[in-house]
């Protein structure tokens, strides 16, 4: 553990809070699965709803379990840059190959 660990540990969630986050993650996963089965009824609303839930779960794990919320902004910058860069590059690829061809 680095020398800064005791200070950081003071700000980290307690085991009880970790369990609460896990329960929230489990509930969100259950809602996702429920949405999957309601797709015939809800139609196109399902995709954005599923993406939103995935983003929330992603944020909970990164923020609280990986402690990024409590770390220096430098780490958020590096990690966020990797995520944004990958999303942009592959987003452009998917738009170019999947969406643009539909418009001729």
């Amino acid at each position: 553990m680095s020398e800064t660990a005791p200070t950081q540990a003071h700000h980290h969630p307690t085991p009880r809070q970790y369990v609460q986050i896990a329960l929230l993650l489990a509930v969100l996963t259950a809602i996702e699965v429920g949405l999957y089965y309601t797709e015939p009824t809800l139609g196109k609303l399902v995709t954005p709803a599923l993406l939103l839930l995935a983003v929330i779960k992603f944020g909970l794990v990164v923020g609280y379990y990986m402690h990024l919320k409590y770390e220096k902004r430098l780490l958020t910058g590096f990690f966020g840059a990797g995520f944004i860069l990958a999303s942009l590059i592959y987003g452009v690829v998917l738009v170019a190959f999947l969406i643009l061809p539909r418009f001729g």
């Binding site: 680095s2 996963t29 995935a54 794990v61 990164v62 379990y65 990797g82 590059i89 998917l94």
Partner: protein, 200 residues
């Protein structure tokens, strides 16, 4: 003099105010987004393609089964963070227990993936059946490999802790780094489960 040496040693390991190995791990994980992004995009490009030889992955998904696997991996993130927390409190027996629990949950996940792959092959979908199947096996297989590497690292830490009666401060940092890796594998699965399995 001793303080100066200590300060120099400290700055040597924390040039940017963050322990260098920790910084390296975060940069490595950031670079992994590019790797998994390529595999996810490849799958998405082929999954809806017309004229693919049947069966395509979507026809074979067992959502209840994969949901349970996802739940298991999510819970392994909980046990991992509890191991980290126990290490911070210097509670070595608890650290070992949570490390072992995390590794076991990881093994359950891998077992589920092996079962899923064998079922799919039995149903006639192999790597060569169609491009979507290749993309699916490549993506989930590489994710599974990451989980497997994580399990090896967890069991190594467990073994070191058991042998030496606990983890030293240096190995405590290793536990934190392994934890970051493990949680990353979990967030990648969150994306795969939604994008590959659930989104129509």
């Amino acid at each position: 003099m001793a303080d100066l040496a200590h300060d120099l040693g400290h700055s040597e390991h924390e040039g940017l105010g963050v322990e260098n190995r920790k910084l390296a791990m975060w940069i490595f994980l950031a670079s992994e987004f590019m790797f998994f992004g390529a595999l996810i995009s490849t799958y998405l490009l082929f999954k809806g393609k017309e004229g693919l030889t049947s069966p395509v992955p979507r026809e074979l998904y067992d959502i209840p089964f994969t949901s349970v696997s996802s739940f298991v991996l999510l819970m392994s993130s909980l046990t991992m963070v509890l191991a980290h927390n126990a290490q911070g409190r210097k509670d070595q027996p608890a650290t070992r227990s949570w490390l072992l629990a995390t590794a076991l949950l990881g093994m359950v996940f891998i077992g589920g993936q092996v079962y899923e792959f064998s079922t799919f092959v039995h149903e006639g979908m192999t790597m060569r059946t169609n491009a979507a199947a290749s993309g699916f096996y490549l993506l989930t297989g590489f994710h599974g490999t990451h989980v497997l590497i994580g399990i090896i690292m967890l069991l190594s830490l467990f073994g070191i802790s058991r042998r030496h009666g606990g983890l030293s401060d240096a190995n405590g940092l290793n536990l934190e780094l392994v934890g970051l890796y493990w949680h990353f594998v979990d967030i990648i699965w969150i994306v795969i489960f939604t994008v590959v399995y659930l989104i129509p």
